[in-house]
């Protein structure tokens, strides 16, 4: 099966959803990514990626509870699907495979 590969940012978002488990929603993912990557991450970009990943079937979502901190607004909690896990694993394997094919760095 020809698998659709993801771009770098989508992969990061998908991974963080997997990492955050039950608490994966827009703001949380954004903050988490900013912490990991030590760079600014735009909320809207995260949202767009989440929607795309959901369209592709790598994520599923449900509306979760509201907190005071969110001004009473609900969260959309994402969880990774089996297809999502599979695509992450496939990408990781491909990358490792490619690394293996790279000639060893020689020190001069």
């Amino acid at each position: 099966m020809a698998r659709e590969f993801l771009n770098e940012f989508e992969e990061l978002v998908l991974t963080s959803v997997a990492v955050l488990e039950d608490d994966a929603y827009g703001a949380a993912i954004t903050l988490e990514l900013e912490k990991w990557l030590e760079r600014k991450v735009t909320l809207s970009a995260v949202h767009v990626s989440l929607y795309k990943l959901e369209d592709k079937g790598y994520l599923k979502s449900k509306v979760g509870g509201a907190t005071n901190e969110r001004g009473g607004r609900s969260k959309r909690i994402y969880t990774i699907t089996n297809a999502g896990t599979a695509v992450l694993r496939a990408m990781r394997e491909k990358r490792v495979e490619l690394w293996g094919m790279m000639p060893q760095f020689k020190t001069i």
């Binding site: 703001a27 954004t30 735009t42 509306v63």
Partner: protein, 866 residues
């Protein structure tokens, strides 16, 4: 606690899909609170706004639209299938729709192919935007006249005196007969030009051999086209070879310094060879006289100059150099406009050929429109037949938008079918169209954008023609549709209106075609004032100059001719004109152009002009006739003599005595205004370059041709024999009118045909609807006649209305068109009566064949079903 700015909230609500808004807002607020702790309230507010604004991106925006689960694309296959099923079920209606549109498209394709070709003229020159032709604008008698022949000296003057001028060259195509000799091969050509060396640099006529920079530098050089090179040299190399060129009594050797690629068809320049002006001037001297407007001046301006400033500078160049030219201004007219926009009226640019193109364009659009009207009418009329389908679709959940989509898809499919049919048709008809238009158009040469425009046009016709039915049909509510009977009053009204327009076009075209036909017939049959029958002319070449008298005597004694004379030009060509002729009592302000023709004796009898006073030129009886002239009626009127015979006029510094006055004859072409003409008698002149021969009419043409050729060979060994017939030359003047006649006739037939099949469709539909009514009427005792009357009258009413509206419009249009002709017919009422009767007859015939069939039908057939 004030949570966060409402502006961000508003932005998010405006741009984000409804089902996501809540969570996005939540996330934004959460981040905002996070930021407040980190970087403070003020900065956090800004960042919140920025974050909100960043949701303005395709990934979010498009989610709005695509969130609609009812995507039309899923239904496309179904719509297509239904379209073909409907077409198969209603074969006649589909055939009417498609053939009407296809005929419209075909004519539009052909006509726009021609228009496109006309617009492509001179577009291939690299410097096209900097090329101009110099024109004169003269202010005389309170009139402003414009013309584009200029003095030879203008080009060098422009080049030397104006910084904004890059190059300026003279260009002259005098059509003098020149003989070419290479080895034993001899050839007569009149298709040469004289010009200056820069010509090849300015215009983009590529050379196969030779260098455009220097090809014409040396006076004794000649540049020829590849076809002419092939004619002269066959497969041998022409470049660098010598050619012997003779004209009159001169013979020269010229070297081929360039071979031009075949000239494209979309240029007004049409020549076989170029000889440098410098050569001509080395023989006959330099013409520096500003009063002699004999050449075209081509100008290329420098890049990036201010054109209006250059125009201002150039304006007075003639005034500066020429005492008598105080009333003349020079202006530059772009080369790109020289074909389509060269009409000037009182000094103002007033169109030109572009007007003809506009008329043709409108014609093409109208023909497509007539086809579209069929489409709209039949689709709305047949709404009832589709009503069940529409209601079922609505009941099962189709929204209005998807129904509109369905009908538009349907009409686009129909249009595309019609378009493909029209491609085949126009391809097949193109050869015939080319003959009709005297053109050599081909679809291969049409640029890509032409096809792009065609595709776009087809698509938009599909949208427009399908649009109305689509909106109308989809607007019916399901319940109404089920109970639907007969179409609404509004629709009926609109359909009748469209039929009025359709037949209105047909009537206008019909009247137009008849008027064009009559006008052309009138011009052809018009008394030319001289007799072209058996009038022939032979160009004077080589030894014919000195052997003319012997040639003439031979022709007369052998009985081939009844009369022989010489002229400077056939009456179908313009030769020379002047505003400077003088006579007793001439108003010094008067500068009307008088045409000159130089003739030998017996011109009046040879060409059968009609004398109204005085006598013919006759050197035997009156040796002084070498200084005598014969004038035409218009010239007499202009000169305003009580009795013109014996009066003298001054021209070219000589006195000429008027010995005769002839009735006005058609000079050059029947499309030109009557102009004053003076026929100058003269004993001998190089200007006499044609032998005019009145052939004996008892002999057959073949016999005459052979006889003449034999005698010609006897007196002029070196030159090939060429015989022209005055009636054929005269007939050539009708080419434009002929193609117009054919186009309007074809368009008329098409328009009537398309409109009639539309009418046929409507009649058939109406009968289908009223089938039961007819049956019941018959059962209750209605006569066949009364039923036919009932059915026909309602269909014929719009046509009667269209006659009333459009006949007067046609009258106005044709009056305006006829104004263009100096000799014209009067518009007669019978043309309109005939057109009306014909249209009504066609309509009546179309409708009654259908209605009669229905009326004669046994009512059992229509009533037993259901």
């Amino acid at each position: 606690m004030k949570e966060y700015p409402t502006l961000a909230e508003r932005i998010i609500r405006a741009i984000c899909p409804d089902h996501l808004v809540d969570q996005i807002e939540g996330d934004l607020i959460e981040l905002y609170h996070h930021d407040v702790k980190d970087i403070g309230m003020r900065k956090a507010k800004w960042r919140l706004l920025l974050n909100a604004l960043r949701f303005f991106r395709p990934g979010i925006l498009f989610r709005n639209r695509f969130s609609n689960p009812l995507s039309h694309t899923h239904m496309l296959a179904n719509y297509t299938k239904i379209t073909f099923r409907v077409m198969a079920r209603t074969k006649t209606f589909s055939a009417i729709n498609i053939s009407g549109l296809a005929l419209g498209f075909t004519s539009a394709l052909l006509l726009f192919l021609w228009i496109q070709f006309e617009f492509s003229f001179e577009q291939f020159h690299t410097n096209k935007d900097r090329l101009y032709i110099a024109w004169n604008r003269s202010f005389e008698n309170g009139q402003i006249n414009c013309w584009n022949t200029t003095p030879r000296v203008l080009a060098p003057t422009l080049q030397n005196e104006f910084a904004g001028v890059d190059h300026a060259v003279s260009f002259a195509q005098w059509e003098g007969t020149q003989r070419f000799k290479v080895g034993d091969k001899k050839m007569l050509k009149t298709s040469g030009v004289y010009t200056d060396p820069a010509f090849l640099k300015m215009l983009s006529f590529p050379l196969i051999k030779g260098n455009a920079e220097s090809a014409l530098e040396h006076p004794q050089s000649i540049v020829i086209t590849e076809d002419f090179a092939y004619d002269l040299f066959g497969d041998d190399e022409a470049f660098g070879e010598m050619i012997t060129v003779s004209e009159g009594e001169y013979t020269f050797e010229l070297k081929v310094t360039g071979v031009l690629k075949k000239l494209p068809r979309n240029t007004a320049f049409n020549f076989d060879y170029i000889i440098p002006f410098a050569f001509l001037e080395s023989v006959s001297g330099v013409d520096e006289f500003w009063g002699n407007n004999s050449v075209t001046t081509l100008v290329m301006t420098k890049e990036g100059i201010d054109e209006s400033q250059l125009a201002e500078e150039i304006k007075d160049v003639e005034k500066k150099h020429f005492k008598d030219g105080q009333h003349i201004e020079i202006f530059l007219h772009p080369l790109l406009k020289s074909r389509l926009y060269s009409g000037f009226e009182n000094g103002v640019q007033t169109g030109g050929k572009i007007d003809e193109l506009k008329v043709i364009g409108i014609l093409a659009v109208c023909l497509v429109l007539i086809g579209c009207i069929n489409f709209v009418n039949l689709s709305t009329a047949r709404a009832q037949k589709r009503a069940k389908e529409i209601s079922v679709r609505k009941v099962t959940g189709a929204v209005r938008r998807s129904l509109i989509m369905q009908f538009i898809v349907e009409s686009i499919i129909m249009c595309s079918l019609a378009a493909s049919l029209s491609l085949v048709l126009s391809y097949l008809l193109l050869p015939w169209f080319n003959i009709m238009m005297y053109e050599q158009l081909s679809f291969q040469e049409a640029p890509i954008w032409f096809w792009g425009c065609f595709a776009a046009a087809v698509l938009s016709v599909g949208l427009v023609a399908g649009g109305y039915p689509a909106f109308y049909l989809s607007s019916l509510s399901a319940i109404r549709v089920f109970k639907f009977s007969g179409s609404g009053k509004m629709n009926q009204l609109m359909r009748s209106g469209l039929v009025v327009v359709q037949f209105g076009f047909a009537i206008m075209l019909m009247v137009g075609a008849t008027v064009v036909f009559r006008q052309s017939q009138f011009l052809r049959a018009m008394d030319q004032g001289y007799d072209t029958n058996r009038l022939a002319y032979v160009p004077i070449t080589g030894d014919m100059l000195k052997n003319f008298t012997a040639f003439k005597n031979e022709l007369l004694t052998q009985g081939f001719a009844t009369s022989v004379t010489r002229t400077s030009t056939p009456f179908t060509e313009q030769w020379s004109s002047t505003g400077g002729m003088q006579w007793a009592g001439k108003n010094p302000e008067e500068r009307t152009n008088i045409e000159r023709i130089v003739v030998d004796e017996e011109i009046v009898s040879t060409s059968s002009l009609t004398l109204i006073a005085g006598r013919d030129l006759d050197l035997d009886k009156f040796p002084s006739d070498s200084n005598a002239v014969v004038i035409n009626e218009s010239a007499w009127r202009l000169m305003n003599f009580e009795n013109p015979i014996g009066e003298t006029i001054k021209d070219n510094g000589k006195d000429w005595k008027i010995v005769g006055v002839v009735k006005d004859f058609v000079f050059v072409s029947p499309f030109m205004r009557k102009s004053p003409v003076v026929l100058f008698g003269c004993e001998f002149s190089e200007a006499l370059s044609f032998v005019y021969i009145k052939l004996d009419d008892t002999k057959s043409l073949a016999e005459l041709k052979n006889g003449l050729e034999k005698i010609h060979r006897q007196y002029n060994v070196d030159y090939p024999f060429e015989l022209h017939f005055a009636d054929l030359e005269y007939a050539q003047k009708f080419e434009i009118l002929d193609s117009m006649k054919m186009v309007s006739a074809a368009a008329t037939l098409l328009a009537i045909f398309i409109a009639s099949i539309g009418l046929l469709g409507m009649a058939m539909y109406m009968i289908e609807v009223k089938k039961k009514e007819i049956g019941i009427r018959k059962v209750l005792g209605g006569s066949v006649y009364s039923i036919i009357k009932m059915l026909s009258i309602s269909s014929l009413k719009p046509i009667a209305i269209s006659v009333l509206i459009f006949a007067p419009l046609a009258w106005l249009a044709m009056t305006a068109w006829l104004e263009l002709f100096p000799y014209r017919i009067d518009l007669e009422v019978w043309i309109f009566v005939l057109a009306t009767i014909l249209i009504l007859f066609v309509a009546l015939f179309t409708v009654t064949t259908q209605t009669a069939k229905a009326a004669y039908d046994n009512p059992v057939n229509s009533l037993k079903s259901e």
